[in-house]
Symmetry: C2
Subunit: 226 residues, 2 copies
DNA sequence: CTACGACTTGCACAGTGTTCAAGAAAGGAC
DNA sequence: GTCCTTTCTTGAACACTGTGCAAGTCGTAG
């Protein structure tokens, strides 16, 4: 072998690091090669293609989220923890949600999560396909919630790279958005009270939505039981 | 002026058509130019950049979704209709959700929708920031729900373009997913019953989740009223 | 020592978004 | 009519992307 041989794990780790630092569109094979101290094309022997590499990186980060033990907490706190940890994981890796829209991302890491989520909702009292739909509902909400921030992140990173007028372009963009929103009565009112009250923390919005979804699931359970 | 002058509306329409037909990664400026009968670079005079073009196309399709009249239906059916129409719109234009993860997409079209959604949730009884969070919750769910299908669509389109072994690669991919899922007890059980019962229609899953979210919102309303 | 298989490298190609100087066509001013 | 300006289009470039390919390098088994 040559002096040092690349391993798939090394490559995937470097890819995750680069994706976290530069975003999805900041990842390119030459930069990855430079980070690994190898030629860009050396990666291809191990992972086959860029899409495959992203799939591997994407599945890797699923293992970051801990699985709550159903023997010690009830289903609702378990569901809350799983969803919240998923949410912070998606916040840490905004590129995941972007990749989710373009590639089929299903590997052992996601399977591990999905299986446990299913277990939680079965423990709640859902049976058969209902458990699947219940799990899908909260998962879908968490995923959708990460979509907006991912876009903001992507934009900020792209502008941050672009030298001087980054902040100006950013301000232009939001100013334009406000100008549009101000033409609609309710949106304008929301903007005003948000500006006055320093705005609701965006994480509050996540918890509100999550608890609402769980409330809805409990309502369905209560309706099924006499 | 030259014989025929391009208009922004023409360009945006052609872009939407191309995006619908070829997907987000199928859109490129030379193809767009060919469709318009112009040079690829002629577009730049009108829209500035590809990102801007996508933003314009994205905002355009928001106008496809009708706004339910609160004077004739109660808030819950209004919310259901708005969410369902948003869902079918996102199904018709799967590239929108993908773009949502990479670009800040906020224009008059989305503002029109957001404003009405806010109105619906204010009519439900939510006040101030609560209405905002309630609207965001159901919007977020619908958005997240469109993310999986978008990926499947994107993959299918990419493979469909690739000649012969498209179906084979698709089957390989799902087979691998099943193989992984089968290693987890609950996922395996779900696969088996799904195969036996022809699977729950995916649109059932959307309605289940949507009604669950609305149930959760109603629970919150009931808890606030004495 | 030789041969093989595991890896790596540099080169090249096709395709991408975008810039830029140069042009073409219309509409007015005189 | 001529001339100028403004609006729009064009084709040729440039830098960058993912990736295929032939050639290479190296450890190791025989």
């Amino acid at each position: 072998m040559p002096r040092t041989t690349l391993t798939s794990a090394q490559i995937v780790d470097a890819a995750v690091g680069l994706l976290d630092a530069e975003g999805l569109e900041g990842l390119n094979m030459r930069a990855l090669g430079k980070q690994l101290g190898s030629a860009a094309t050396a990666v291809y022997w191990h992972v086959g293609s860029k899409e495959n590499l992203i799939a591997l990186a994407a599945d890797q980060v699923w293992h970051e989220i801990p699985l709550p033990d159903l023997a010690v907490v009830d289903w609702r706190t378990a569901a809350t923890r799983l969803a919240t940890d998923l949410h912070t994981m998606l916040t840490r890796h905004p590129w995941l949600v972007q990749a989710f829209g373009s590639l089929p991302l299903f590997g052992p890491g996601k399977a591990r999560h999905d299986d446990h989520s299913l277990a939680i909702h079965e423990a709640a009292g859902f049976t058969g396909g209902q458990a699947d739909q219940a799990a899908a509902t909260v998962f879908t909400f968490v995923l959708g919630n990460a979509l907006g921030p991912a876009a903001a992140d992507s934009l900020a990173r792209r502008l941050g790279r672009a030298g001087d007028d980054a902040a100006e372009a950013m301000r232009d963009s939001t100013a334009k958005a406000h100008e549009i929103a101000a033409r609609f009565p309710r949106l304008r009112a929301r903007l005003e009270t948000a500006a006055a009250g320093h705005g609701a923390a965006p994480d509050n919005s996540f918890q509100f939505g999550l608890q609402t979804v769980l409330d809805g699931l409990e309502a369905r359970l209560a309706a099924a039981r006499p």
